[in-house]
């Protein structure tokens, strides 16, 4: 058989993957290899596949993903630091037919916004919360977050996090799973192709569950902060595998009883 030329394969009718149009053409400002970009992309893909672009309202946080509204092409409201679940509560109660989701880092959701997180989950607001846990304050220069691992070096824990002095890393996802107002709680990651596919399915479920009016669907994404961790992307995802995942194991934590 004569070898096929690339030109013969690269044709419109042979496309099996291309960027979704729900992601704008703006170049995302995230560092190379950052899991924020990947998570934005798969949220946009889910919105496209469900055909809900004009019915979805996002809440952007403070943190590296503060400009989420420039990338995911849906109506978006910017919240004050940590207040996304409160804002989502108001929007969903006023517009109950919309799909409302928050997108929050670990500094946002698990430090300054802990009260909003716990109470929205306890009230059982009918929203989706997407929680990007990179174990650090990425945006502000790599300070320790409540989620930073024991012994982890950050700009505010240069000798490593000492739980005796700085407390233990907090597992927000296990914590909110205890509350009666959460309906679906899962922990995922996006640094390999198969994990991306799984996370996308989890985000899809989380959005689908909003139709049932049964409470919060909560998706943690264990992610990498290459700049804060001071590692190139390939090394950072290896570090994530070896250090973050043993403490933050992947999988469903609370699934609806059918």
């Amino acid at each position: 058989m004569a070898e096929l030329d690339i030109k013969d394969i690269v044709k419109e009718e042979n496309i099996v993957y291309k960027k979704t149009s729900v992601l704008t053409d703006n170049v995302m400002h995230y560092c190379p290899g950052c899991g924020h970009s990947t998570t934005h992309r798969i949220i946009a893909e889910v919105i496209e596949e469900m055909g809900i672009q004009d019915k979805t309202i996002g809440i952007a946080p403070v943190g590296c993903s503060v400009f989420m509204y420039d990338y995911i092409d849906v109506d978006t409201q910017e919240a004050a630091h940590g207040r996304a679940p409160a804002l989502a509560t108001a929007i969903k109660r006023l517009l109950p037919d919309r799909y409302v989701f928050t997108y929050q880092g670990d500094g946002d959701l698990a430090a300054i916004g802990t009260a909003e997180t716990i109470h929205a989950c306890n009230r059982g607001e009918n929203i989706t919360m997407i929680f990007i846990n990179n174990g650090i304050y990425g945006m502000t220069g790599g300070q320790m977050a409540p989620t930073s691992l024991e012994g982890m070096r950050t700009s505010t824990t240069p000798y490593g996090r000492d739980p005796g002095l700085m407390g233990h890393p907090i597992k927000m996802t296990e914590l909110v799973a205890q509350l009666p107002g959460t309906y679906y709680v899962t922990r995922q990651a996006v640094h390999t192709p198969n994990l991306v596919r799984k996370t996308k399915k989890a985000i899809r479920k989380a959005f689908e569950y909003q139709k049932l009016n049964r409470g919060v669907s909560f998706v943690e994404v264990v992610s990498n902060c290459n700049s804060g961790w001071k590692m190139p992307p390939v090394q950072a995802v290896k570090w994530l595998d070896e250090n973050m995942l043993p403490f933050y194991p992947l999988g469903d934590i609370k699934v609806p009883e059918m």
């Binding site: 058989m1 070898e3 096929l4 690339i6 013969d8 394969i9 690269v10 044709k11 042979n14 496309i15 099996v16 993957y17 291309k18 960027k19 979704t20 992601l23 170049v27 995302m28 995230y30 560092c31 190379p32 290899g33 950052c34 899991g35 924020h36 970009s37 990947t38 992309r41 996006v190 640094h191 390999t192 192709p193 991306v196 596919r197 190139p232 992307p233 390939v234 995802v237």
Partner: protein, 80 residues
Amino acid sequence: MAKVKGAIVVDTERCKGCELCVISCPTHVIAMSKKVNSKGYHYAYMENPDACNGCTNCAVVCPDGVITVYRMKVEEKTEV
């Protein structure tokens, strides 16, 4: 017998050179260019295009969604 052939097109100007696609390709198709784009990033390209089967792994893992994947079935004729 039908064989599956794939190809990828990288939007080189938007590639940030993270190399996550390189480590995710099961058939070692992708390498990083010696040249850089206008932002100064070495970009991904098909170094070994014959090995691509269009599995989409690289595009699914690419944070910035800069890879388009193509796949087609090719009928292999047995030589007589």
